[in-house]
Symmetry: D2
Subunit: 420 residues, 4 copies
């Protein structure tokens, strides 16, 4: 059995790359041996904004657990009940763990599978959602593999575009789901709150969906600059100019058709309050700037139980929302995790046929080694506009030379600081 | 020019049936003469729960204004630009005033028309929404008549079912819209908050949509009894048994597929708090009892500016909602007024073909004279389980004898009191 | 191992109930042992109109094969990879064989599964579609059982309504799918071609979906009488009165919103040609009588290769359709087998909550023994308005006494003849 | 009153630019004076493939009628009932004439308006559909102007992109409608039959909708070359290689997700039969190459009454279609004219925000004078890969210099011949 190493959570802002057990074909939710799973040799495994919630101690997570839920890998072992995958297949792993046999999975709601977590209708790797081991590791186990995995039809072609394809496990479908939930369609005008990786993926997704004016707002200059360079509109929320005024200056109208929350519960205020956490800020912004009859998608994570919540209401997941005010505008709010499987095949095809060549630019992926992962968490936490892709076995080297040659160094601390 | 009388608002709990001007073909939003309107002789005009918000001084309304927005009538005069209606046509008036020419109207969003109210994207009769005169009157003006009005194909057949058809102007499409927004479809399980007329119409609408288990909750016993007798399940929110437990006792599960808020901002608490207003109670209840992946429709009215709001947050239309807690369940919330036109033709056909013969039973319409209107407001405010239909010209007399013979007396005060 | 008996096809109009092998957990499409299947003790197994195509030698079928695809049963054995079903569970079997792991299954298109038939993207029991054994037997094997089977939540309650629930395996979802494909919704007017079991189930499905005027057409008087007694409108296609005239006499309009083809390729002409097969008759009728912007659902079976086809074009599956003529009406045609799983849970709930109590009346199920099956095929072929439900183990006896006491005799030949 | 000139049909292949009456505010369907119309000074008016059907004598058209239905113009006069447009507004005219007041218009089915043509539920300018005058003229009348017209928000910005925006009146929404009807969405693979202007617009529309592999087929080399240069895949139907083989060579699969018929009833055969008309060829091709569960959109015109039809069946609009063969694949066919209004606002925004800068390249618009129109019809009929945009007043001159400088000459006969 080969050795294995993984990013392990030891407490807030305390991570370590440690030797860990090689994954086993065992159901994390009940400890039973399973035959429907596969073991993957991890090709890429990305660091996500929701990992940062854990890193900062904002989402409850037992110490000693492996992190990571954005995995692309190669099948190295398959259980008896895996019928349609074989060793050597290159696959994308949706971050949702799903059984494919419950009512919700059958209805394309893999984000709320009823069979993979005894405590809630939702499972994910590397979270406190069913106990499934995190995938920032050299090897990773995926249950219900025939159902969960998306196989790339041509391995070589996929490796050529691996940095974009690695986003299929989470942030691209998540950004896309936010847009779909918000009703983005050809010609729509869109405001995306948050210029982090999900917000930037949402910007690219809006473009794929045919949106016209795509505006991204954030409080972090370096992220906004990246978005602007990639050809989208931006609003700087540290400014005292109110959001509708900033939108009007761009669009000629004070409201957009669609709003996407790519921030979640660690939202900040605007202007003078841009340094303060205001967990209801983004949703209220969206109810304000989305026109009557428009739509709001909320893929950004909200939760109860944040140990650092400012008030007991917030700790209980209660938010003071402008719903009463906006009711007359026929509001539509759709929240929750993305059902990755609903979208990943189409997005894969869009990438493989060169229809999203703008994706890498706006997401700014940077491939790093597993050993650099801890430092990458730190830099990302400081506001780096990079999307870090861990390549634990050095398998993407060739790809990197094709897509983004010089992006291999982690930004030095000094430059990272400049992102604030 | 014939005389005209109407229900006029003189202040909280102060109404009077007064002589008023005969309606003119004038645009209420800008005072200009219009040729696209018609004058109707009112056949029926109902009292609505949202009239009660005004009656109780909870929705801002200038004194001296006519009330009423649920009108069915006969065309007695048509402007020169009305092309497809003629004198004598019997029509149902959607409560939304809509131009039929703006983007929203073209997209079947007549509830947020952009051209009929200079202050908001929404117009209605007898509200503070564009200044359009209320229709609890003998005569009523409807602008953009070709667009707005639904003509009954056979006048005699329509008069035979006029008590059910009179509900097409508002509460049946409103209840139906709540159900559609909540995703009600064949086999769905539904919880409807509120056993008032809209809630009861929503129960009937759920049935038309093929729902399986339909549960209605309220704090008013008499309304719940009516619902129960009509063949639906009920939960009594004055009980200390928590709502999910009451649902489980009926359904065998603690969650439903779909939730409908037929209450709005004057919501009350549960159990010991059933006498207290808790404006966020219903929406939070629904986020709790609707299953992951289910839907929530909110046709109940929410607003800002309630002069009697308990807190300044509530006055501003801010509600403390369990959104953070329920985000993991992929919540879907759709609020706002019903776009009546999207549904009224289909619902008319369902009524005319006898597919909703259960409607009258659960809504419990009672036809009254215009002179009885003020008393009806009072009785309704006290919790009467009746839906009052004003017949200002006595035109439905024949119909009444067919559908609901003995329902003509207004319940005496004593029995009305028993509803609390 | 228990013995087993089944209805076996020996050639056109030649069936026999024979001893057959007890089912094995083997993949019919490739002969491999499987662990994802279950063996069912068959509770009910119905005779379907598509079985009749085989019976009459119109659909290609190897001699010696077992017939039947409408099975409800009790789990008596489960493979090692079946995780969510156990012995004793009472389940409904969708007639489609589906893997739950291919793209189509994941997108709720279980009727075109890519993994269960090496010759086409579609599998079914008792057809020439993947070699899966027919279920008109005492015992029946279902592969991918966790995915395919719908478990009844309460076995006793289910047995009380077993005659209606037995229709969940095919004709109720099939009729429902036809209606959904045709766009049936509240208030819609519907014309259903064919008063056989699927057409009658479609009538009930239309009602569940809230349709207003539901018209069923056929050439068989006894079937039309049954439909009429159950409260639907009928048109008699043996009359010389053209179909639009007959519809106008009922509806007051010559066109309906929605059309459903519940006949398929063995369609007959009208009036003087009612005895002749006209395979394009029904689709052309529907393109004629469905209004501009309406919808046409075609669950009726069309195929190529009918050995008795009148022309070589028809044999090749070519139909002379009025598409050019009706193009100006924005036609919408959706054909194909029903994806049963998309609908069966909702329909089950509607039945269990008493929302389809009209179903048994219009479908006219009749429970028979396995030994009576051959005679039932013959009677059904002669136009009997019964839906025959085979109960091979006598397990429904109690149920029968509850729902439809006296329906146990097969109609005598003489009365059956009278149906022509 | 200013003078007016227009392209007038005098018989097959006989057109003339003649002096004609200045348009009046009169309802073409009944001759009555109307107040809801406007007169436009025509800025652009394009020649369409459906004009070519008339030109070739294939669609019935009275001699002496004006042609043209793709108009963009400036309001110069407005009737009393026009409330939201004023002189000087620059507007796009959907080719469908629609009342905005009938059931179909209210449901976004403006292509089948019930009030603008006494002979069918469909009206259009310059066709035999209600008698509305063609718009290849200097001035043009539009009824129900508030409803029908799309106003460009900024006139100067619109004039800068006028060649693309001129396509909003028909071919871009028509191509887009074909794609939407076929279910094109992000990642979908698409086969578009026909490389004429609608097919090319459909290719661009597919791209806007996020399609991955977009393949266009035709028998005309010059058109295919244009499509190829613009970055799409092509199949040459004059080759003897079967269509599925050609698709497989491009895609690696023999079937696509979506098929669009951008040809209609003048379809040709393949390979050796590429010179012969085969009116059912395209629809049968699509049923063959679209995968099970995929979709087929048919915006290409089909009709009855073609005087040059090869058989009496075809003349009656009867087509010999492979529906029986493809039924097992769950076919979905949606045909008919595009409801332009459903799409034109979104497409306008996509153009104005630079999201369809690839549109001009693939459509290859060429602005010409009204006097050149007759020659342009001839050249287009010979297979020119140009989309001719008539500018009767020379108003786009400035625009032309911006977008496509040197495209002003009509191709000489010799080069046009080479397209065969």
């Amino acid at each position: 059995m080969p050795s294995n190493r993984a990013v392990v959570y030891l407490g807030p802002k305390q991570l370590e790359v440690q030797k860990v057990d090689f994954p086993e074909l065992v159901d994390a939710s009940n400890g039973k041996k399973i035959e429907h799973g596969v073991i993957l040799k991890v090709v890429t495994t990305n660091i996500c904004g929701s990992d940062q919630h854990i890193y900062r101690g904002r989402t409850q997570m037992p110490k000693g657990e492996q992190l990571g839920h954005e995995v692309t890998g190669e099948v190295v072992e398959a259980g008896r009940d895996v019928l349609f995958l074989k060793k050597g297949d290159l696959v994308s792993v949706p971050f949702n763990v799903a059984c494919g046999r419950c009512r919700n999975c059958k209805e394309q709601h893999t984000e709320i599978c009823k069979n993979v977590n005894t405590e809630a209708d939702a499972g994910a790797y590397g979270f406190n959602l069913g106990g499934w081991k995190g995938g920032q590791a050299e090897y990773h186990m995926v249950p219900y593999a025939d159902f969960n995995l998306l196989k790339f039809p041509d391995k070589d072609k996929a490796m050529e575009r691996i940095s974009a394809l690695s986003l299929l496990s989470d942030i691209l479908p998540t950004g896309f789901h936010g847009c779909v939930s918000a009703g983005v369609k050809p010609g729509a005008t869109v405001y995306i709150a948050g210029a982090g990786p999900v917000g930037r993926a949402a910007a690219a997704a809006s473009r794929l969906l045919g949106a016209s004016c795509i505006i991204v707002g954030d409080v972090k200059t370096e992220r906004l600059n990246l978005v602007k360079q990639a050809g989208y509109e931006v609003v700087d929320l540290t400014k005292s100019t109110p959001l509708p005024d900033q939108i009007e200056a761009i669009l000629g109208e004070r409201e957009v058709d669609c709003g996407v929350d790519a921030v979640g519960f660690e939202a900040h205020g605007h202007g003078a309050e841009a340094d303060e956490e205001q967990p209801q800020q983004v949703i209220n912004d969206l109810m304000g700037v989305v026109r009557a009859g428009g739509g709001i998608g909320i893929p950004g994570v909200y939760a109860e139980g944040d140990p650092k919540a400012k008030t007991s209401d917030i700790k209980k997941g209660k938010l003071l929302l402008d719903f009463g005010k906006s009711w007359i505008k026929s509001p539509s709010l759709l929240g929750g995790q993305a059902p990755v499987m609903r979208y990943n095949r189409g997005l894969m095809n869009a990438i493989l046929w060169g229809r999203m060549d703008y994706l890498d630019d706006v997401v700014a992926t940077e491939v790093i080694s597993l050993d650099d992962a801890v430092e990458a968490y730190r830099v990302f936490d400081e506001g780096s506009p990079k999307k870090f892709v861990i390549d634990p076995h050095g398998m993407t080297r060739k790809a990197r030379s094709v897509t983004a040659a010089a992006k291999v160094q982690i930004p030095a601390r000094s430059s990272a600081k400049a992102t604030r």
